[in-house]
Amino acid sequence: MEQTVALGGLTLKNPVLTASGTFGYGTEASAFGDVRFLGGIVVKGLSLEARPGNPGGRIAETPCGMLNSIGLENIGAGRFVREFLPRLPWQETPVVANIYAGDYDEFAELAAYLADQEGIAGLEVNISCPNVRAGGARFGQDPDMAAKACAAVREKAGDKPVILKLSPNVTDVTEIARAVEDAGADAVSLINTLSGMAVDIRTRRPVLGSVIGGLSGPAIKPVALQAVYRVCREVNIPVVGLGGITSAEDALEFILVGARAVQVGSASFADPQLPFSLVSRLEELCEELGIESWEEFRGRIETE
């Protein structure tokens, strides 16, 4: 079956992307597979300046999942563009830059800089990070703030598609999705991590230096599917589904509830070949299930 999908102006050779923060800057996993076969890659979240990230414990294993509090450590957009982008096969596989910033102006500046780079195919805006200036609220938890962040990036992104990455830690994720759609988002991706915590009863301390971190992995797949399903029924822009995908079957589940493409996240820690093997396995599985085209399958969940 033809695997190509269109995503907000991009053409992906298949619907499999890597999720931000789980695939480094795109070059590190080259020993496990060839990124040219992937639908696209989303790189580690970039900010205007390099950031050191959180001190102390950064990862904790949890049942069927993990917590992380990397604290958005990154080398800064400039160094990524100079040192990594030239080594990525961006001519063959779209490279999406995941970005975050502390305020709207910073978002705008970052977007302008990255959208200007030939090798950057699009921007994924992480609005789940704390907004320092607004006292710890998160852009992604308030529809107005989400819309403003979206608009700030959209305005500077030129002809590059802008994907808003949504947080599941909200009362109604469809409200945020509609807000960013209205603000010009070309697509949304969801879900980012759930708020979670792990503690050590012997040391009486939290396992993560930041106390609370982000939960990912198979544990959250049911939450992610539900969020994607609901958002797909509320917006007209394409939706990228992720959260706990470990197999081609999982990927098809997201597509069945309406996702245009999917991202492989922390499951690639458990199997670094996963993003690559998923591409071929997905094709086989479509064959097995007699799926004839994405159009025929996508969103065709029967709820009656």
Binding site: A29, I59, T62, M66, N68, A219
Partner: protein, 262 residues
């Protein structure tokens, strides 16, 4: 190396040749050997397919030994993953990827002092077994569990070893004193290679700085990916730098890190 070759080198489904359980939760696993070239201190990630998604993450383990016969791993049960690993039996297949990270640096002619705390012995096993000049090696081994749980009898046949029980504060003071004396002895042309719990490495780092020894430490931080993509394994470096233990280490020269200030 082309991508295709690297890929073949890194990722393996290996057959279990043999398992061995010792007292107090110590285990050996011998796997059909892959043809890796490796350095002591390098590690691999292991994740049997039978784990479903719980435990979720792979487990980092030092390459205890690798030769034509077997890839050997040696571990102590501490939690869910290391306990599940004890269910492996010969004939089973396990998925591993490696060799990962930077190992210890030394030349065969150098006098080398090995400092191991508990399971920190693991990366030194193969080093000792295969070193062309075992007379250049000496080991100080601090341990809590019974000595019989470790392959120390075997290692003592090849090199000079000093074992010190490390259970009470008094034991610890004795261990520190012994290490101090030895580290001073290796501070000229020698090298000091250390592996063990964090406080052990801090102590070694401090003693090394104080005595001008050239020391390398192996950092065992929790890891999610093992190959540089998750940024979960950061260790604080000197001068406010941050390193990733899995690709910049796990072996660091003591001065690169800020351990002696911990």
């Amino acid at each position: 190396m082309t991508t295709e070759e690297q890929k073949m080198t890194l990722h393996h489904d290996l057959k279990v040749l043999e398992t061995e359980s010792l007292d107090s939760g110590f285990h050996w696993l011998r796997l059909n050997p892959p043809s890796w070239s490796w350095q002591p201190g390098q590690f691999l990630m292991l994740r049997p397919r039978e784990w479903s998604s719980d435990p979720f993450l792979p487990r980092p383990l030092s390459i205890a030994d690798l030769d034509g016969e077997a890839l050997s791993l040696f571990w102590h049960v501490v939690g869910k993953g290391t306990r599940k690993m004890t269910h492996l039996r010969s004939g089973d297949r396990v998925r591993v990827w490696g060799p990962l990270g930077r190992g210890f640096y030394f030349e065969p002619h150098m006098p080398v002092l090995l400092l191991a705390g508990g399971m920190g012995l693991a990366p030194f096993i193969g080093l000792i077994r295969h070193h062309p000049h075992p007379e250049n090696l000496e080991l100080i081994f601090g341990h809590r569990e019974d000595l019989s749980s470790y392959p120390l009898a075997e290692l003592s046949k090849r090199i000079l070893t000093w074992s010190l029980q490390d259970r009470t504060p008094k034991d610890l003071a004795k261990l520190e004193k012994a290490m101090k004396v030895k580290i001073q002895g290796y501070s000229g042309d020698g090298r000091v290679l250390a592996c063990g719990p964090r406080p052990f490495l801090s102590m070694v780092s401090r003693l090394s700085r104080e005595n001008g020894a050239r020391t390398q430490v192996c950092m065992e931080t929790p890891m999610a990916c093992g190959h540089g993509v998750c940024l979960g394994c950061s260790v604080p470096g000197a001068g406010g730098r941050t390193y990733q233990a899995c690709v910049d280490g796990p072996v660091f020269s003591a001065e690169e890190l800020a351990l002696d200030q911990e």
